[in-house]
């Protein structure tokens, strides 16, 4: 990188003043779209994400139907204006991979057997990106699925851990992602307010085995905080909704 590499940690604080294990500010709102069966708007730092769930509904093309369970589709997409340099519209290789592993995070958790022959589509749009978009999208998608009333065994909550200036940090922002040594996005299945398993796990960079293990523990603590906010967003919606 010829770009000037900033010092990412100054006096034990991160560039935006956060502690190492501190999340960026998060805002979650459920049920923001009229046409979708379930939806969610989410901000995580400067990320702005909107997720919609359609279904269970008929699958097109029909040959994709599964007579015994629902087919899950997940589309991660970045708006052309979401990043500094305009992104060419449509799926690139990165989006294809993110969509695949994200779908796989939800597949074992959605009770697909309850909806044979049908399809559940999860569409997530990144309106503004600032590192950690795949985890922010998973968090939004999770709330949108609950909002749509899709039966699930639990909820997916995601957060990344990074290594910057030799230090493990939670929920990296853009500068930490660009200039850091490693990035590890995690997603967990949370059930009965407990982390039950890892639903998504990727990593690039360079970390020792010990750092990866410590990173997992840091991510778990962060995920529990996000989980509370997801829950709160869902409760809020159903609290204010008028019953006719």
């Amino acid at each position: 990188m010829s770009e000037e590499r900033p010092q990412l940690i100054v006096d034990g604080k991160r560039l935006d003043g956060r502690d190492f294990d501190e999340l960026r500010p998060i805002k979650i709102e459920a049920g923001v779209l009229r046409r979708a069966d379930g939806s969610c708007y989410l901000e995580m730092g400067r990320n702005k994400i909107i997720a919609a769930v359609y279904g269970p509904r008929e699958v097109h093309p029909r040959h994709l139907q599964d007579p015994s369970r629902a087919v899950i589709r997940y589309r991660y997409n970045m708006a052309p204006f979401s990043v500094e340099e305009r992104k060419r519209p449509g799926p690139d290789r990165r989006s294809i991979e993110i969509s695949k592993v994200s779908r796989e995070a939800f597949e074992p958790i959605i009770m697909k057997e309850l909806f044979p022959r049908s399809g559940i589509d999860v569409f997530v749009e990144v309106l503004q990106a600032d590192a950690g978009t795949r985890t922010a999208c998973l968090n939004a998608a999770s709330v949108a699925l609950v909002d749509a009333g899709v039966a699930m065994k639990g909820i997916i909550t995601a957060v990344a851990v990074a290594k910057v200036d030799g230090q493990l940090v939670l929920d990296p922002m853009k500068e930490e992602d660009n200039f850091g040594e490693a990035d590890v996005p995690f997603a967990f299945l949370i059930r009965n307010s407990r982390i039950e398993s890892i639903a998504l796990l990727q990593m690039d960079g360079r970390m020792t085995v010990d750092e990866v293990k410590k990173g997992l523990q840091m991510a778990k603590r962060g995920a529990m905080q996000i989980y509370e906010m997801q829950r709160d967003a869902i409760m809020r919606k159903y609290h204010t909704e008028e019953v006719e």
Partner: protein
Amino acid sequence: MGEDILMDIKRDYVLSRLGDGERIDGRKFDEFRPIEIQTNVISKAEGSALVKIGDTQVVVGVKLQPGEPFPDAPDKGIIITNAELVPLASPTFEPGPPDENSVELARVVDRGIRESEAVDLSKLCIAEGEKVWLIFIDIHALDDDGNLRDASALAAIAAILTATVPAERFDIGNDFPLPVRDLPVSVTSLVIDDKALIDPSRDEISVGEYFMTITTDQEDNIVAMQKSGAYQLSEEKFYELIDVSVAKARELRQLLRDI
């Protein structure tokens, strides 16, 4: 349809043998199938390797040509990794543009090489801001009997190890070996319930595509990981996979050193 029924039978067989603590081909849980690495198999390529892991076969060719650098790295060479799951390699592969599986395969292999900084890209600058060497790593599957991922990763680094920068052909000085400074090795396991099967064969994968790939460098650092498949991974299993992957990668790395 016949294929489906066969798959069901295979799945039941794999699971029943696993119940007895055995793999269908008698391997230990952390045992790879026999590995064979042949290098310089394609003389038209600047570097190449054919890797066989059991009956899985993949060939990787490395081609180099001058091209424009990325604006944010004007003095560094560029790695471009691509994978083709050609229909010749499996009855389930179809012709057409790369699907999510080939994109994922290419990106996971790419990450191992890139993040371990296996190729010294700073030595591949021709004219800063104008011309650098582009390294094309093309993965070509020949026979998918399971675990194309490790076979591809191994073939890619083997091909890189034997590659020459064709400077003379482009009138940019003398040819020189592609500068390599690390040996990333990926180890893929199939996670079934509480068990992990290293280097799963196609028959074992009939149980489900529940993979975890961990790539390490020669200092045992982790440089890339990818959980792929619709399954849930427990924390304990994850830790176990890290340890076994680090140990196995060391053995595989020795094969690369012997090239």
